[in-house]
């Protein structure tokens, strides 16, 4: 233990178990039970970081999650994590920590030159200094500022750890396991309620582990341990140590981060690093304690200047002192406790400087009543403080640490997460929870302003009894043990007005008393403006130790009281949450589900190239040996289909089963065109509109029986169309006798297209089903069997423009069917085709897809205006008649081909007249789809052109001003292939 020069006796650390760790490459030893901060202090290390803006040397200020200064990088490589608070980093053997925001070293930081220019870097300096020239901001100013000011860095490597999410349910959630929380959990646990007790610390007990008070006849920490043991033995109580409740959400739902493996070098096999819990509670009690606040004085940021309660925690719990000689600066009795406890631990207390004129005397050291600390010295660590006594004398006191107490602020954060506003409590000179709390939440202990141990235990038990009574569970508070019940004795004192040098309020964002005064001078007096102008409270600690100080200075400047000046409310999370924790397992391939079609395995065997279509993976093309470019594969697939037969998996199209006596009437409502007269055994193309008259989706509806239709949707809109149909069924026409079910995943479906498609299908369709042209003409549908009895549905519909069918079998036979089709089609040289060839053929045929039905176009634009029935009510028909959608020169779908066949039509380009200016005012339309047509031997496109139907044969220009290209194109019919539709009906 030779290095641990500031290690004390006893405490809650294991003096028999040493742990090795490094800080900035130097090796140290700590003890089991240490945090990184306590271990560094025990080793005499006070300097732990550099400040954000001025690179001031900084040490640890607190002993908890509110820490603004001691931010370090933990671990290496993919596990490297910046901005970790050393105060909550549990020490483990082999821990590696690095300081941040310094170069080349923590002791000699060259960027500390910023400190010399601090007059220029005051509040608002970003807004004032870097305004001109504007272009310099992104290229010059911002990169330099970002490099000079900043916190930690990341490695850029992938995080190897797993994060999880989980759900928990309870009657009572107790947030915080200090005296109030333990008391609440014990009361509820004994009553048999389902209790969850969560605390951010690894040792449950809160301040009981940091104070020297006895509870009954035992140490506070011993009572805590005994209570935890009793709670552990209860089946109805779940203890969650190392778990921070970070947010209070609606209806009793709380978010909590459990650190499963942060106290180990790395998580165990299959163990997540952290779990984000969503806790569903019927009632909750907030027992989050209080946070001590500093007093600002000139040069109050030197390493060694700490919160008094933190110094007490380090001494009592972690058996460590920041220095062998400590002074205390306080405005309340709590500072005296620190002095007394340090003396009891054998630490030399140089003096107690108490701002109160009537401060009590103290055994073992001198108390300067009515005195103030007005300055400090020590470059990398505190050496002396200068005090001014009540009589006006100044003197220097030698000390390596100063314990400061300005009083305690209740941790009201979670009470504000649903618009609750805290209330000012004059006796505590602090904000306490207001009346508007999240539903089901009550507050106990120091968080509610009950700052004594007795008060905490009493209110904790009482709130638990009340909460359970609401749930019909009877509980009794039991006999409370004897505990300290001292009143709060405090005289508000926020900052020292005398002395030279900067007095720091927000140490993490380098905001001083002077900055707040400057904000006032420049009229940023509203709390929200003050915060944004000075960045007060906007660092990773969210101002837990600084907001009150800033508010108090502003209140004094404006001559108003603190509650009149206001308070900023708090939002989740209570402490920073790693992005990985929020993502959970939804990373990489698990980010969204992958849906595979029934032919996926077969397509993989063929070497298909896949493309993502929503969650689906679809074969894009099937390369063959010798093909070096995707176009070769696609051209081959197109020609083979048009010349003989091709097969494409179209399972991804949405399929909706519509049944009921009113099924036809229902389809009449949701499609623009009519379905009532569609005969059984026939399919009809259908166009859906949105209620605003814009085209929404298209597909087919096949009538299998009077009361049974099968509707298809586009792949992209499968979910949305089904949702919309359910809306129409339940909300708009609730009396219709109709039922819907999505069967997208129930049926494997293949398009079989090309002049040989019938001959191919006749080989697998069972003999009793006649699919000849007479028996099964274009737009026929029927329920059949294939391959000797396998149930199937056959539709004679065509997207490619060829003689074509779609055949569906139950999904489990999808793989067998594609293999059967390929085998049967061998004699026709059957060719599987992917989505690219599908796209080329539909452009050649002039069929619209999502490129054309793009949320801005109408049936009229699509050339389908006559489909919109005027004789019936359907979604969208009334507003489709709006004047604005029916101008005489409305956009119309046309085909486009380059005048010079070697040139290319590009999608996204705009159409301009052959002569005249190229600008938005003369825009004639735009290109929606383009492809190379192997049948025409040139590039072709589809697009919308003003009055396009009457402009066939006109030569216009396709322009792309971004790339500076202009191509002459001829307006042609959108039906490039077989405009009369003879092939379909062959």
């Amino acid at each position: 233990m030779s290095g641990q020069i500031n290690r004390l006796n006893s405490g809650l650390v294991d003096h028999g178990q040493s742990l090795n760790f490094t800080f900035d490459g130097k090796s140290y030893q700590g003890l089991a039970g240490d945090t990184l901060a306590s271990a560094l202090l025990a080793n005499g290390v006070r300097l732990m970081g550099r400040s954000f803006k001025y690179h001031r040397p900084r040490g640890v200020l607190t002993a908890g999650s509110e820490e603004p200064n001691a931010l370090v990088e933990l671990r290496q490589g993919g596990r490297q994590e910046p901005n970790t608070r050393a105060t909550v980093a549990e020490l483990y053997d082999g821990l590696e920590a690095q300081s941040q925001n310094r170069w080349p070293s923590l002791q000699r930081d060259l960027m500390a030159v910023n400190d010399l220019f601090s007059n220029f870097l005051t509040a608002g300096f970003y807004y004032k200094t870097f305004m001109w020239p504007k272009a310099f901001w992104e290229t010059l100013y911002e990169p330099i500022i970002r490099r000079a000011a900043g916190l930690g860095s990341v490695s850029g490597e992938d995080d190897p750890d797993v994060y999880d999410k989980g759900f928990l349910h309870c009657d009572l959630l107790v947030i915080g396991a200090g005296p109030a929380g333990l008391s609440a959990a014990l009361t509820a646990g004994r009553a048999g309620a389902r209790v969850i007790l969560a605390d951010e610390d690894f040792a449950l007990g809160g301040r009981l582990n940091s104070e020297s008070f006895a509870i009954s006849d035992m140490a506070g920490s011993a009572w805590a341990a005994q209570t935890v043991a009793e709670l552990t033995s209860m089946d109805n109580v779940r203890l969650l140590p190392r778990t921070t409740v970070v947010g209070a959400f609606d209806h009793g739902i709380y978010g909590a981060v459990e650190r499963i493996a942060d106290h180990k070098p790395q998580p165990g096999t299959a163990e997540p690093r952290q779990i984000f819990w969503r806790i569903y509670s019927k009632r909750a009690v907030l027992c989050a304690g209080a946070t001590e606040r500093p007093i600002a004085f000139p040069n109050n940021d030197r390493p060694g200047i700490m919160m008094a309660g933190a110094v007490r925690s380090y001494a009592n719990r972690w058996a460590a002192t920041p220095h062998e000689r400590v002074a205390v600066f306080t405005n309340n009795d709590d500072g005296h406790r620190t002095a007394t406890d340090l003396i009891a631990k054998g630490v030399q207390v140089a003096a107690v400087i108490d701002t109160r004129a009537d401060a009590p005397a103290i055994d073992g050291t001198e108390c300067f009543a009515g005195a103030q600390v007005i300055d400090s010295k020590g470059r990398l660590g505190l050496e002396t403080v200068t005090i001014r006594t009540a009589q006006g004398f100044t003197s220097e006191i030698i000390c390596g640490a100063l314990a400061v107490s300005g009083g305690w602020n209740p941790n009201v954060h979670l009470t504000c997460h649903q618009r609750g506003r805290p209330q000012w409590n004059e006796a505590l000179a602090a904000f306490v929870p207001g009346e508007s709390l999240p539903i089901g939440l009550s507050v106990a202990g120091a968080a509610a302003g009950a700052l004594s141990t007795h008060g905490a235990m009493e209110t904790g038990a009482a709130r638990a009894v009340e909460a359970l009574a609401d749930l019909g569970i009877q509980a009794t508070p039991g006999d409370l043990p004897q505990a300290e019940d001292a009143p709060v004795n405090l005289q508000p004192f926020w900052y020292v007005k005398d002395g030279k040098g900067r007095a720091w309020i927000d140490q993490q964002n380098d905001v001083t008393v002077k900055d707040v005064k400057l904000a006032h001078q420049e009229n940023f007096v509203s709390v929200e403006h003050l915060k944004r102008y000075t960045t007060l409270g906007m660092a990773t600690d969210q101002g837990k130790t600084s907001n009150m100080g800033g508010l108090a200075v502003m209140a004094e400047m404006t001559g108003k009281s603190i509650p009149e000046t206001g308070t900023t409310i708090f939002r989740p999370p209570y402490t920073p949450v790693a992005m990985g924790t929020l993502a959970g397992r939804a990373v990489g391939k698990q980010f969204h589900p992958t849906r595979k079609t029934p032919s996926h395995k077969w397509a993989t065997e063929q070497g298909a190239v896949f493309t993502e279509v929503g969650d689906w993976l679809r074969a894009q093309w099937y390369p063959r040996k010798g093909e070096t470019h995707w176009r070769q594969s696609v051209d081959r697939e197109v020609l083979a289909t048009r010349n003989s037969v091709g097969v494409c998996d179209v399972t991804t199209l949405g399929k909706i089963d519509v049944q009921g006596a009113d099924a036809a009437e229902f389809l009449n409502k949701i499609y623009a065109n009519g379905f009532a007269k569609l005969p059984v055994g026939k399919v009809r193309y259908g166009l859906m509109l949105r209620e605003d008259g814009i085209a929404y989706d298209d597909g087919t509806a096949a009538r299998f029986a009077e009361d049974h239709f099968v509707v298809t949707t586009t792949t992209a809109n499968a979910v949305l169309v089904y949702r919309q149909m359910e809306f129409a069924r339940q909300c708009l026409w609730p009396d219709l006798d109709v039922q819907l079910i999505s069967t997208t995943e129930a049926w494997a479906q293949y398009a079989v297209a090309g002049p040989n498609s019938r001959r191919l299908l006749q080989k697998i369709v069972d003999a009793e089903f006649d699919i000849s042209n007479d028996a099964f003409p274009f737009m026929a549908c029927g329920e059949i069997t294939v391959c000797g009895g396998c149930r199937a549905r056959l539709f004679r519909i065509s997207f490619s423009g060829e003689l074509a069918y779609e055949i569906a079998v139950p999904t489990r036979y999808g793989d067998a069917l594609i293999r059967a089709l390929m085998e049967a089609g061998e004699e026709f040289d059957v060719t599987p085709y992917g989505t690219e060839a599908l796209g080329v053929m539909r452009i050649e045929k002039g069929h619209a897809t999502g490129n054309e039905i793009n949320g801005t176009t109408t049936a009229l634009n699509l050339g389908l205006g006559r489909m919109v029935s005027k004789k019936k009510d359907c979604i969208g028909n009334t507003l489709s008649e709006r004047g604005g959608l029916n101008e005489p020169d409305a956009l119309r779908l046309v085909g486009l081909k380059p005048v010079n066949a070697t040139q290319t039509v590009t999608a996204g380009g705009h159409l301009m007249n052959k002569d005249g200016p190229v600008d938005a005012a003369h825009d004639q339309g735009y290109v929606t789809s383009a492809a190379y047509s192997p049948n025409l031997g040139s590039s072709i496109g589809l697009g919308f052109l003003k009055n396009g139907a009457d402009r066939i044969g006109e030569v216009i220009r396709l322009v792309n001003p971004l790339e500076g290209s202009e191509t002459e194109v001829e307006v042609v019919s959108a039906h490039f292939v077989d405009p009369e539709g003879e092939r379909l009906r062959a």
Partner: protein
């Protein structure tokens, strides 16, 4: 949030899809004289109250019921949940 589904009991809001104002149920009569104006108002005009709001939620990850949920937009307190179909029928929608 937790939505008290009339058929399925308390369900997490994550299972639902939100549509908006329950006034969407009251689709105008297409044959009325002022049908175009009525449809315009139906489609584009919405109240945005700070307080009680009746709105449509769809239990997409559940039984596919559309619900009318009465929710306070300030506190998110839910005071009533009905099957939208029952609401629509009671209002004589689609007749």
């Amino acid at each position: 949030m937790i939505i008290e589904h009339p058929l399925l009991g308390p369900r997490d809001a994550q299972e639902f899809v939100y549509l908006g104002d329950a006034a969407m149920i009251d689709r105008p009569d297409w044959q009325a004289d002022n049908a175009d104006e009525a449809f315009h108002d139906y489609l584009y005009l919405r109240d945005n109250p700070a307080g009680e709001h009746r709105e449509l939620w769809y239990h997409e990850q559940g039984d596919r019921s559309w619900l009318v949920v009465t929710r306070n937009t300030l506190t998110h307190e839910i005071t009533k949940v009905e099957l939208a179909r029952d609401v629509a029928r009671a209002r004589g929608c689609g007749r």
